[in-house]
Symmetry: D2
Subunit: 341 residues, 4 copies
Amino acid sequence: MRIGVLTAGGDCPGLNAVIRSVVHRALTGHGDEVIGFEDGFKGLLDGRFRKLDLDAVSGILARGGTILGSARLERARLREACESAKDFSREYGIDVLIPIGGEGTLTAARMLADAGMPVVGVPKTIDNDISSTDRTFGFDTAVGVATEAIDRLKTTAESHQRVMVVEVMGRHAGWIALESGMAGGAHGICLPEREFDVNDLVKMVEERFARGKKFAVVCVAEGAHPLAGTMDYKKGAIDQFGHERFSGIGTALAHELEKRLGKEARPVILGHVQRGGTPTAYDRVLATRFGWHAVEAAHRGDFGKMTALRGTDIVMTPLAEAITELKRVPADRMDEAESVF
Amino acid sequence: MRIGVLTAGGDCPGLNAVIRSVVHRALTGHGDEVIGFEDGFKGLLDGRFRKLDLDAVSGILARGGTILGSARLERARLREACESAKDFSREYGIDVLIPIGGEGTLTAARMLADAGMPVVGVPKTIDNDISSTDRTFGFDTAVGVATEAIDRLKTTAESHQRVMVVEVMGRHAGWIALESGMAGGAHGICLPEREFDVNDLVKMVEERFARGKKFAVVCVAEGAHPLAGTMDYKKGAIDQFGHERFSGIGTALAHELEKRLGKEARPVILGHVQRGGTPTAYDRVLATRFGWHAVEAAHRGDFGKMTALRGTDIVMTPLAEAITELKRVPADRMDEAESVF
Amino acid sequence: MRIGVLTAGGDCPGLNAVIRSVVHRALTGHGDEVIGFEDGFKGLLDGRFRKLDLDAVSGILARGGTILGSARLERARLREACESAKDFSREYGIDVLIPIGGEGTLTAARMLADAGMPVVGVPKTIDNDISSTDRTFGFDTAVGVATEAIDRLKTTAESHQRVMVVEVMGRHAGWIALESGMAGGAHGICLPEREFDVNDLVKMVEERFARGKKFAVVCVAEGAHPLAGTMDYKKGAIDQFGHERFSGIGTALAHELEKRLGKEARPVILGHVQRGGTPTAYDRVLATRFGWHAVEAAHRGDFGKMTALRGTDIVMTPLAEAITELKRVPADRMDEAESVF
Amino acid sequence: MRIGVLTAGGDCPGLNAVIRSVVHRALTGHGDEVIGFEDGFKGLLDGRFRKLDLDAVSGILARGGTILGSARLERARLREACESAKDFSREYGIDVLIPIGGEGTLTAARMLADAGMPVVGVPKTIDNDISSTDRTFGFDTAVGVATEAIDRLKTTAESHQRVMVVEVMGRHAGWIALESGMAGGAHGICLPEREFDVNDLVKMVEERFARGKKFAVVCVAEGAHPLAGTMDYKKGAIDQFGHERFSGIGTALAHELEKRLGKEARPVILGHVQRGGTPTAYDRVLATRFGWHAVEAAHRGDFGKMTALRGTDIVMTPLAEAITELKRVPADRMDEAESVF
């Protein structure tokens, strides 16, 4: 069998572990051949690929990033490309394509599958918001980075009687904020799934100070939004450089809390450090298992599906299901988190 | 409600997170009172306990160990104690006991429950070998510590053309060896669940050297055993000090490989570092959720059960089921791991 | 002897290690008594202090922050206080005061010493910019945090062909940027000590891309400033919230590079995570030694001085010398760093 | 200029950082050519080397081990080789050799220098025991690994009322034990430089238990030795496999303490994890500076010397001085450490 593999979308710790696993399982277990397309779908369209043997994937298991590169591709070009999908298989002589990526990638994967190309997807997102899989690799690493930051900020907040607002990734789903906030013991967690009332945060901080706990840490997802009327914040406001991304909720909330409380409040925007670097052991295992099962699915002819974690098992689930709706934090998980502040 | 909590058995990162979560949920969510028994069941028998308020659990979320202490108790004394269980409830005026512990503790918990005491258990083992829960807290931390050690050993093995044998915890179940071996990219993994053939390891190392990869790392669970006739090893052999534990399989295997291969082989026995220290974010979240749900179960009167992870949900499962058999690594997980060496 | 100790100024990993060391050495080595003033000089002025015995400092060696708290104090109030310094000694019955702090604290310490109070200072700054000591504790931890961030950002920059701009602490001296940039292998380092030419950075990135290295990481100290005419940047510009700190050089530089290069550039502002959390082993050793030697100096009557590292020795150096000028990165260290990009 | 570089002796985090720095400085700063000999002096003798350009050293800064490999060489063969040293220079057309290694390597380097070969040495040892340099790279990483282990062991020891004995590297000098013991807050530190009295350790543990601190951690260097008559221990005793190394002082001491105290004591032998893996920021900076200055020295014709850290400066020091005597822990450093237990 000849397998094509590519990585697309934003960076995510564990991508290299999937690539390595696909190559190991395919070559050692089945005697297959594997080629890797460069810079995601761009490489597929432009015919930029290279053969991946055991040496090519040696030493990459613990490395962040992706040895194949990744790049954004305009939807239009991708759609156009998908329509000619069958040609790819013939052109590069591949029997199956294993695209590793997020919602956009899996949507493209489905278009390719619908167009008749044999495809086995591997889901990837640090946001953990893909339906039909319990978890995605990269998420545990992101939560670990954010938790370590909260751990560090707590000691400094405590010594200086400050409020620290940590903004973590999560535009549409608040999984990173939920779990890093819970693991770090944040005293407030704001998620995109539930508009937050700034008055509640103000009250929480005041009660803590009254109890002699003269500091607080609030963990806020970048996509969190205040309840209308409780705070002046326009999502997507443009900063002095014309960039939307530089004036996020974390900075705005720290400013608001400082103003209302009359106490020092500082924002920390974690940003891209959550996306890079050595994956945790958990993510390496999950990524390795996804790679392994993708190859097995390819050999079984189980196309049009993607790997998914269900409990402790890796199962195959239709691409169509995976991308219908975002997996958001359910209300009971938010309640759990709130009650252990 | 008045809740008693205790921690028993070997150390496990996340115990403090459970205690903290129980106290927070009980006090803040329900207006309960919580007392903590010292040194496990010993404190229950001897009447050593203290009140746990929010201040008592402040700052312990990220700390290893247990603020309540833990101690071994002879089965006989425990059994005797269990028979008089109802007295405890009355004596200390507790409406429910939440024992946090491993197989032995859960067995004791069941005895107490059978004797009529309201009990809600929380499973705890770094070995991840308790049935009816997908995972236990502490395991992820242990795997992380072992994986970091393997990462470090790989670079030094590679530079010096050596074979390194890492012995990790796992007397009856090989989960730590499986996942840390997979995450660290070990070239051989030996588990208690499947006797290993030393000849296979010798062949693997020789093939690697032949391919120009002049090093290898083998990850072996302390309870792994060689196939009869492939290596001279008597489990439980007594060392020069009369201790069984100081002459384990790791050391023996390194010696055997060195002898057969004519190459340097070194054992590294990780030992207790796997049990201590700051829990990973994953373990803190799982421990916190277990604590939360144990309190909720207590308030629902859902006794004689323990918390368990199923997929992404925390469910309650009968104590009787949990302790009937050890959760061992199934054959397909071993096959997966072996094929990505 | 009765010793008073206080921590003042910004947070710095290792403060607790100094406190612990002072208490251990004073109590165990000399049979002294130690009291700790709360919230820096504020506690000294307001008479808020508590006795510190071995139990009070148990378990704090590896903890960030300061168990004594720290707070800013207006210069005027401090000066006023210093003039009545002798009273403190008599009022609290202390034979010596050990203030642990940065430049401001050491200046105050000197005023107290000049006013006749027995003082032994311990220098503290994550910025490493205090003259007459080779290093200060806290610096190694800050560099470690920044280096780990750069490590993570490099993998993600590489996969996505991006320029990442990491802003680290250092308003007047660029030590953190210098050492974390060097340790992380940044491709450009901008320090307050030397105005940088944006054209050089643009050229560097373009040359890297031309060589096939399609990413770059620039490490910039918060106090770095562009050469006039090479980039439009007004230090201390006020952001949308009226805060100077939220529109730093990191964000401005990322924007400028993106505009000029036509490639994605992203800023990451590390902020307060550099100040908090567990100190590195290096910082714990240095802090412990500083505490030990401060107590010895007190017993020798070696007042008006502070502890300092010279090579591998801890020596006492006059407070007057320490605060005359900031220790800035010398030109040869900048040259070294630049040539290994 | 054509520069030859090699790495010899035991593994040490930072070797790759030196190699990278040499290549960067030589190529970018001077337009030199660099070749790397494989497996230390073996490659020099056998003529196994490869050209090192910027690509060859890309991405290795943070990686443990050495891309050039390292191997032991019998003294006799080396001596023989040294006598024909001039030939090497001519044979490979190198103008200078930069050997990176420990005491043995530097001795060989001196022989080569005496034989007329232009040599600039770079000292390397995790043990920090080379005279005439304040510190060596690799040491900080080893101390960091050992300290993290002690941190972890303390929490587990405390929860279970145990004595933990951690054996760290250091056959002839106890620097790692000194600094990791101090940083980890060990309650006893045993070094090769001062025979320890087991009775003192027993007394220390008993006093701690009497004070209510029911655990203790002892940090012991592998080369530490008990005072005659206080404990039965024969250095270099042979274990069941005929290996000296498997029956070290850590295991023997744990056994002795358990016997005398009637409390559980457990040994943890850290072993090779101290030698491998990602170097700390401190070690990367020191290694990078050593490489840079070695190239500069070569261009100045400053041969027969090695790089050394003095305070904050890198200086050149005669090889002859470096190897005359081991740098051992002085008495005052031991006193410092002992008084903050």
